[in-house]
């Protein structure tokens, strides 16, 4: 049966994936089930007769179709239906059951590893952007072209700060997990 589709504007920062999971779960309760995730646009199928819980996984190190299929097969065995991917973020769902909060990560060590994977990519991108920002700053300065405030440089600075902020947020979560405290 073909269900009507609905598109929604959405954007999330990399360290907010648990909030995105709750958002998807809430929409599923209202009959809107994620089918595709693109930057800023998520597509949903309308079907009020079912309800799912969603979990996101971040796996930047899986290379090759065969290894990716093995990964999906293991999750499918455990009851997780693969929906779609956005970069290295993979979206899984399973039928909702009252009082059950199924998790992909069930111990601190593996949860800390998940956060570290996200943090590592933020760190690399953040550092690369910081280098570009500083290079631009000194170039513009030397050429006398730097207007204060320069809109491009301002946006870039905000981006660099955001990446740095995300990196530190995840750092705190990993530390808390390693100390044996729940976050």
């Amino acid at each position: 049966m073909q269900h009507a589709t609905v598109k929604k504007f959405s954007w999330w920062l990399a360290w907010q994936h648990e909030r995105e999971e709750r958002w998807l779960g809430d929409l599923s309760r209202q009959g809107l089930h994620l089918t595709r995730s693109l930057p800023f646009v998520s597509t949903f199928a309308l079907d009020p007769s079912v309800r799912f819980v969603y979990r996101l996984d971040y796996q930047p190190d899986i290379s090759g179709q065969k290894r990716f299929q093995e990964y999906l097969d293991m999750y499918a065995d455990a009851g997780w239906e693969y929906q779609c991917s956005l970069n290295a973020w993979h979206y899984f769902r399973r039928p909702w059951q009252p009082g059950v909060e199924p998790e992909l990560y069930t111990d601190r060590a593996s949860l800390a590893q998940l956060y570290t994977r996200i943090q590592r990519v933020l760190g690399v991108v953040g550092l690369a952007n910081l280098v570009i920002f500083v290079a631009n700053l000194s170039n513009f300065h030397r050429m006398g072209e730097l207007r204060i405030p320069d809109p491009f440089m301002a946006v870039h600075l905000v981006l660099v700060c955001l990446l740095g902020y995300g990196f530190l947020r995840l750092q705190n979560r990993v530390r808390a997990l390693n100390r044996g405290m729940d976050q």
Binding site: M74, D77, A78, Y105, T106, S110
Partner: protein, 108 residues
């Protein structure tokens, strides 16, 4: 050995594979039943744990059994894996002996 103490997931994966090669889902089920339903390992935790154990050389990919579902990848414990497991069991035994002695002293 810097691998000790093992997490429950690592420990039970090694314990399960001592009986013979298995795929991920079989490990999940074996661990749940062995622990009387207490230890339920999530798919992400299992996947991460298997990758880590393979990279540390404690388990390895095993050839598919004839007639088995070749879609599922099989894993086997390595000699290093058995050594680490034995060392962990010894460490846990020491913890248990001392704990029991302390409790008996208080009760006795």
């Amino acid at each position: 050995m810097d691998l000790l103490p093992l997490t429950e997931a690592f420990y039970y994966i090694l314990v399960t594979l001592c009986a013979g090669p298995a795929h991920g889902y079989a490990m999940m089920q074996a661990i749940e039943s062995m622990s009387g339903g207490r230890v339920r390992i999530g798919a992400g935790t299992l996947y991460t744990a298997i990758s880590t154990l393979v990279s540390k050389g404690l388990i390895e990919n095993a050839p598919d059994l004839p007639g088995a579902d070749s879609r599922r990848k099989m894993y086997a414990i390595t000699p290093e894996g058995r050594q680490v497991l034995a060392a962990e069991v010894q460490r846990l035994e020491e913890l248990l002996v001392n704990g029991r002695r302390a409790i008996n002293m208080v009760e006795g």
